[in-house]
């Protein structure tokens, strides 16, 4: 005998009717308020992340103040100065007429750098030159955390105020990527406070390995160079002056060397840490063409301009690393990669130059914790 198909849910009992009503109301509510529910859910997730970012920002501030007290031995509380520093901003030059913008940007960056140096010196009068550089790096990491916090908070509060799904969505979609950068900066606090080598320093480490034991001279602001005879060639190896946290001005250094040596120089090889794509291994070494150097682009521009002026080919060696490793204490794989990069540079020199040639090898990156 065929059974009568039952209704689902069975409305026979009172409780069945009640459940039917609850389901119908829930369905209607979802139909009318789905977007609002989604907005509230996303806002809640942004709020949770924002709390974490705030805690990281506060930690950055606390670590900075503690380090200044410890290393700088100031005679007064540095908290107000640190708070003022963390609110510092930078206005990019106008780009409506882009000709000459690089030099305007350089001038602004130089002013910023010298102002930061003076402020840190005033905050920490008892710190050594290396410690001052490390403190400056530490404060810049804390400043970056403060900026991230304020931007995320801005979108969160704006989204809450307007309840506009698309405003909330913008920050919600970017959060995973922003969190990677924020976590990288928070890892930097330990490295900059203690003066440990960081992932970005792998280029400087490669140069340090090449120039070790040779006489050094300062060829530009915070850049040292050594002349190394190798396989009938002359290698001019340069890096930022360590072991304090420093990147120097490699663009100026390469320009000064080319002015000195002119047509003797047959190749410029830059070696730097480069962001890896997901799936690539930390510490893998790749070779390419061009100037391997990050930052806002001023130093890269100078290197490219000078190379073009003297018609010198630009070769690049990149050591791959994750974004979270750039300013965090250097992983072991990057230390091992420095030896592989040295081998790559040597092979490149043998392949692309002849005996009697001069080659510039520039180790780019922050040299914190790495001497020469």
């Amino acid at each position: 005998m065929l059974q009568q198909p039952s209704q689902f849910p069975p409305p026979k009992s009172d409780i069945g009717v009640l459940v039917q009503i609850i389901f119908s109301v829930a369905f209607l509510l979802y139909l009318l308020y789905a977007q609002r529910i989604q907005s509230i859910t996303m806002l809640k997730q942004v709020e949770g992340t924002l709390r974490r970012v705030k805690a990281l920002r506060d930690e950055g501030r606390r670590v900075s103040i503690e380090a200044i007290r410890e290393l700088g031995k100031p005679d007064r509380d540095p908290t107000p100065e640190v708070e003022r520093f963390l609110e510092h901003f930078f206005i990019q030059p106008v780009s409506l007429d882009p000709a000459g913008i690089v030099w305007k940007l350089e001038q602004l960056l130089n002013v910023r750098e010298s102002k930061f140096e003076d402020e840190v010196k005033a905050m920490a009068p008892g710190a050594s030159e290396s410690e001052l550089n490390n403190l400056e790096n530490l404060l810049e990491a804390a400043l970056a955390l403060n900026v991230y916090y304020k931007v995320i908070r801005h979108f969160y509060l704006l989204g809450k105020k307007t309840m506009n799904l698309y405003i909330i969505m913008q920050i919600h979609m970017l959060l995973p990527l922003l969190m990677r950068e924020i976590e990288a900066y928070s890892a930097a606090l330990q490295a900059f406070r203690e003066g440990m080598p960081i992932g970005d320093g792998v280029g400087a480490l490669v140069a340090a390995k090449l120039m070790r034991g040779y006489e050094k001279r300062e060829v530009a602001k915070d850049i040292v160079a050594a002349e190394i005879p190798w396989e009938g060639r002359t290698l001019i190896v340069l890096k930022a002056k360590g072991p304090g946290g420093n990147v120097g001005k490699p663009g100026d250094a390469i320009r000064n060397i080319l002015r000195e040596r002119g047509k003797e120089v047959k190749a410029i090889i830059t070696v730097d840490a480069a962001g890896k794509l997901e799936g690539e291994e930390t510490g893998s070494v790749a070779e390419g063409i061009g100037a391997a150097i990050g930052g806002v682009g001023v130093e890269k521009y100078k290197i490219e301009e000078t190379a073009k002026e003297y018609d010198v080919p630009l070769y690049a060696v990149a050591v791959k690393e994750d974004i979270t490793e750039v300013v965090a204490p250097m992983p072991s794989a990057l230390f091992d990669a420095a030896d592989k990069a040295v081998e790559a540079i040597r092979r490149l020199i043998l392949e692309r130059t002849s005996e009697g040639d001069t080659v510039i090898v520039a180790g780019i990156g922050n040299t914190i914790g790495i001497a020469q």
Binding site: S6, A328, P329, P331
Partner: protein, 135 residues
């Protein structure tokens, strides 16, 4: 650092708690009705109520898990362990110790215990966590 009060402080998630209580009560009621229906031989009703009750408990579990994730106290900045490797250029003696402030690569640090050389710092890197082997 103005307008610090703009972000709600971390507190007990009362909203989630009340929702969990309500869903829990409904789920228990559904399960009770389900078992009652089994006892009285109404299989179709029993299936329906047990399904409803189980779904309610699953939703409760999910809500508790979500609220636990956001309120759980995690170490903010996980401090990584950094090690310094020192080597004697004369006899090759090698020593690994924890990083100390003031250490830097190529620093001539301390006398070699084996010969009259000076131990030089050759590596400073973070100690990698051992990954669990996947079966």
């Amino acid at each position: 650092m103005s307008s610090e009060g703009a972000i709600p402080s971390v507190g007990f998630p009362w909203g989630t708690f009340i929702a969990v209580i309500i869903i829990g009560a409904f789920s228990l009621l559904s399960l009770y009705l389900g078992f009652e229906a089994i006892a009285s031989g109404r299989t179709e009703d029993a299936n329906y109520y047990i399904l409803l009750g189980s779904t309610g408990f699953a939703a409760m579990g999910y809500m508790i898990f979500r609220s636990r994730v956001t309120t759980m106290r995690k170490p903010l900045i996980p401090r990584v362990e950094v090690v310094t490797t020192l080597e004697c250029p004369k006899c090759g003696f090698k020593k690994v110790r924890g990083f100390k402030r003031g250490d830097y690569v190529f620093k001539e640090d301390e006398p070699c215990p084996n010969c009259d050389g000076i131990l030089t710092i050759t590596r400073i890197h973070r100690r990698e966590k051992k990954r669990k082997a996947r079966r």
